[in-house]
């Protein structure tokens, strides 16, 4: 094959076109990121990025002398056969955990590449290269195990509440110190066992970093780990002397860091608070006493009367609506109410769902007309003049604790002020708190009516009741 021919002949000649091809691939990635920040060009941009990736892989096959070629191709085929169906079949509601999973395996791959490079390297190597290798292994392992924990949290395999182990702060600091010591040991001695221990310590560290993060903050952690993985890829590129890996990894590292900050800002949080908040805050405030207090629940017929004779209704959809696939029923209700002369609007919180912007993706999938959706700031100014706020499967994004109780984990997050409406109707499956694990005081407010059950079934009953008004 051409592989053998290329390498036998002069290295410098082919390295020029290889570098050029890598440059083209790098430009593709830059264009892709740029295009992804505008809805019009985003899909096209993603394709450009994919084309860049295909080009990059093609160049490797054409330019490097590769042993074990059948095995390599087999491994790529295996990865593709697992990845494509997983990506195609995943429900939109489960998207965030899949992104976490993909990020984790990327971090793991970078760590493995660095370890193999370390095994191969002669010990007379440059300190800078060794430093980059150690960095890749540590951050790659943290990203891998951290992402697996975020996956488990989002999939609700483990609790979404912050988990603080007894003495958690000290275990964390101890593990971090141990990791640092082992890293120095590897740098000084270059011994393989030290490297293995380092990788293990970093894996434990990743778990410890993410465990104390509470539900609603998990997506921000994914974004942070995503940026980390980017940096490890850049460091691998330095070790391998590969410019494309440096450019692509750094791009993701830098843009991911900025994105993490933007996302944190959208929730009114700081990144340090998200990572270390659980150690300082005094647990979920007031959750213990909440169970005994009384709430007001009503029948679908009562709610139908409330809605049918209102002048203005604002619907606040959340993750629960999407999970129940209740978008169509909600729309039917909205249309019915509109026929009766009720003014209906949707209020969309920017972080409703499991990730910033997730709700927009979910509703777009359900063909809810984009033009009916109002953003948080817009709808908030209208809520004091709203008769009924209908909250469907959302909780955290309407929780007044974010405004009123400084001790709450969600304090400072901008919310949709449904508490300012004349009446609030909550459609919930149970009294369970939302994703953040924070109790919602609004549920006990005298002007709040609760309607328990699956959002879709309950809404269908409300629709029927409105029809017979």
């Amino acid at each position: 094959m051409n592989v053998a021919v290329n390498t036998a002949v002069n290295e410098p000649v082919h390295s020029a076109w290889v570098d050029l091809a890598y440059l083209v691939a790098a430009v593709c990635f830059i264009v892709a990121l740029k295009a992804l920040s505008s809805p019009k060009s985003a899909r096209w941009g993603n394709l450009v990025g994919a084309a860049g990736a295909v080009l990059a892989v093609g160049v490797v096959f054409a330019s490097e002398r590769l042993d074990h070629l059948p095995l390599i191709i087999g491994a790529i085929a295996l990865g593709t056969l697992c990845g494509v169906p997983a990506a195609r079949r995943v429900k939109m509601t489960a998207m965030p955990q899949l992104v976490a999973l993909f990020n984790g395996v990327g971090g793991g791959a970078a760590a493995i590449v660095a370890i193999v490079e370390f095994l191969r390297a002669s010990h007379g190597e440059l300190l800078a290269a060794l430093l980059a290798t150690v960095f890749t292994v540590v951050v790659g392992c943290v990203s891998f195990s951290g992402s697996m924990v975020t996956f488990a949290k989002l999939q609700e395999l483990i609790t979404t509440r912050p988990i603080v182990l007894p003495g958690g702060r000290w275990i964390g600091i101890g593990t971090a110190a141990l990791t640092l010591l082992l890293a120095i040991a590897v740098l000084v001695t270059g011994l393989t066992p030290a490297m293995v221990l380092l990788a293990l310590a970093a894996l434990v560290l990743g778990v410890l970093v993410v465990l104390p993060v509470g539900g609603a903050d998990v997506p921000i952690v994914i974004s942070l780990l995503n940026a980390f993985t980017g940096l490890t890829v850049a460091a691998s590129g330095y070790v391998l002397g590969n410019t494309l890996l440096i450019v692509a990894g750094t791009l993701v590292g830098a843009s991911g860091t900025l994105l993490t900050r933007l996302m944190a800002q959208a929730m009114g949080r700081s990144v340090t608070n998200i990572l270390f908040g659980a150690f300082t805050a005094a647990g979920p405030g007031g959750a213990g006493t909440a169970e005994q207090r009384s709430v007001r629940s009503a029948s679908p017929e009562d709610v139908a009367i409330l809605l049918g004779y209102a002048r203005k209704v604002v619907i606040v959809p959340g993750y629960g609506l999407a999970v129940a696939q209740a978008q169509h029923t909600v729309r039917e209700l909205a249309d019915l109410l509109a026929e009766r002369g009720v003014r209906v609007e949707y209020g969309i919180h920017p972080v409703a769902g499991r990730m910033p912007g997730h709700m927009n993706v979910l509703l777009a999938e359900a063909n809810v007309p984009y033009e009916q959706l109002r953003e948080m700031d817009e709808i908030n100014s209208e809520l004091p003049s709203t008769d009924v706020a209908l909250v469907v499967g959302a909780n955290d994004v309407v929780n007044p604790a974010a405004r009123n109780s400084p001790g709450s984990p969600i304090y400072g997050m901008p919310i949709i002020n449904v508490d300012q409406a004349q009446h609030v109707v909550f459609l919930k499956r149970s009294m369970r708190p939302g994703f953040s694990g924070v109790e919602n005081e609004l549920l006990y407010d005298p002007k709040t009516t609760l309607l328990f059950g699956d959002a879709k079934e309950t809404l269908a009953k409300v629709v029927a009741a409105v029809k017979s008004l």
Binding site: F29, I30, L36, P39, R43, N46, A50, A53, V57, V59, L66, I72, A75, G79, G83, V84, A86, A87, V90, M92, M95, L98, V99, F102, N103, G106, A109, I112, V116, R120, P219, I222, S223, N226, T229, G230, T232, A234, G237, L240, G241, N242, A248, T250, L251, G253, A254, S255, G256, L258, L259, D335, M355, P356, G357, N360, V361, E365, P369, Q372
Partner: protein, 105 residues
């Protein structure tokens, strides 16, 4: 130019480009953007292929192959998932528009 410094130069410039390209992005697109960036770092596949192709021992080969599978998952899966998300955004300007205007009033 000394190759170490050249690589460092590339790194520093890429940091600025990285910050610059996403400096203005709406919350609506945070999720797809994160997913898209995620797919791009799957380019570690290039590194995984190189080290596997040079593997001399069984351990190196085994680890290298694992890295290839993981990196492929990251890259291919990432692009496909991002495309699916973005597909949702493109298909939204449809019949609803007329109804919307009525609903608003």
């Amino acid at each position: 130019m000394d190759s170490g410094v050249a690589l460092l130069t590339i790194f520093v410039l890429a940091v600025f480009v990285g910050f610059e390209v996403i400096s203005k992005v709406s919350t609506t697109l945070h999720t797809p953007l994160m997913s898209g960036a995620n797919a791009i770092h799957g380019v570690i596949l290039v590194g995984a292929i190189i080290i596997t192709g040079r593997a001399e021992t069984g351990v190196e080969l085994g680890l290298g192959l694992v890295a290839i599978v993981l990196a492929t998952l990251n890259m291919v899966g990432g692009f496909v998932v991002t495309d699916r998300m973005l597909e949702m955004f493109s298909g939204r300007r449809r019949p609803g528009q007329v109804e919307t205007e009525e609903t608003r009033r």
